[in-house]
Amino acid sequence: MKYTTFSREQNDALKEPMFFGNPVNVSRYDQQKYPIFEQLIEKQLSFFWRPEEVDVSKDRIDYQALPAHEQHIFISNLKYQTLLDSIQGRSPNVALLPLVSIPELETWIETWAFSETIHSRSYTHIIRNIVKDPSTIFDDIVLNEEILKRAEDISRYYDDLIDATRQYQEYGEGQHSLANGETIDISLRSLKRKLYMCLMSVNVLEAIRFYVSFACSFAFAERELMEGNAKIIRLIARDEALHLTSTQHMLNIMASGEDDPEMAEIAIECHAEATELFRFAAEQEKQWARYLFKDGSMIGLNETILCQYVEYITNVRMQAVGLPKAFETSENPIPWINTWLSSDSVQVAPQEVEVSSYLVGQIDNSVDVDDLSEFTL
């Protein structure tokens, strides 16, 4: 089926499935098949923030005083988060928009991806402040072995789905012989399966992969170090919690079969693969913790504790999407992190932040005698 930016089909959007129905035509929000996506949009918009609102200038002094192994922990996490948000800022749009069929979900996807671009911009804000040459950090993201390993496993599901969608749109269902002699078998069901696994992988990304970095950022801030960074990470964590809720909703709606009965069958078929996806990602994050602490731990956090936290959070997230726990751990080894993840304590009062709009149209107040030299009476 060909994608069109404005379908002339006089369809009833309330009867369309979330994905693989008619492309969305009228962006209308007066009626919704799934009001939850409209609520998510409103919540996300109410969360809007700008990196410049957070003063990170003290972090520069803190960073310079950190021992080398702690600088490594701090910078490596920023690199990893930059990778994650680089992927998340574009991929939901590229992969999911061509497939979506209801307006409230289409707009949610766009709102979601946009908020990820704010996160990416905030990393530049942080990095620019702590080092003289940000390129040394950004350039390493595509060179660093440890990061590349993760990039491959995260982007694979998106790339698979994007490629299969392209083939489906180009050739349609059935067996096709390509010019290069290759034969391809395209079915809508296998495309649906790729979508389901892609959403599962995105859920893993937002529900687990971010949390190792979050824990480190907040552990620094517990010692009153890198607090500007922690303020930003707290805002990012608030957004990510919303995003993971949205993928949990999509996955659970699919598994229920109320939206598309075939999706419920696929959810059952993918049960083992999805469980393995979570377990594998958790192991990869534990390896990341090992890499972070290779030259030494930081006060309040070490490899063992961080690995226990990964296992703990993985269990919580798996249960949310109807999968069995992968690990024995049942206690949160770092309960203090919850204070940082709680939105009760996110400061949003305008008087508490530097409102950047005040800077627009500012005037230069320093006047020198020379400035008046051209005046004659």
């Binding site: 939850i36 809720t245 659970n252 919850n338 709680s342 939105s343």
Partner: protein, 93 residues
């Protein structure tokens, strides 16, 4: 266990054990009351959008101050943003 309480201070049962009485004068949410009574519960956002405090109930009823955004199945509640309206039994996993 009475099915209907006086509607003011419902009992909270955990795994069949009577745990505490919920006092709406003291606590704004079930989560706050659970913490005050040293019942371990996972939480993150405390505002109904992350779903981390999702808890299964065997019976009972709750009321939400605001409709939560997080996903919950039938029989599950989000203690961070609800209060029990009658006796309630929670399951610990």
């Amino acid at each position: 266990m009475t099915d209907k309480t006086d509607g003011k201070r419902p009992w909270v049962f955990i795994q069949g054990q009577q745990a505490f009485q919920f006092d709406p004068q003291q606590h704004d949410s079930l989560l706050e009351a659970m913490e005050a009574h040293k019942v371990a519960v996972h939480y993150e956002c405390r505002s109904g959008y992350c779903g981390a405090c999702r808890t299964t109930t065997l019976d009972g009823e709750v009321e939400y101050q605001h409709q939560p955004i997080a996903f919950i199945r039938k029989g599950e509640i989000l203690p961070c943003c609800c209060t029990p309206t009658r006796d309630i039994t929670l399951v610990r996993d």
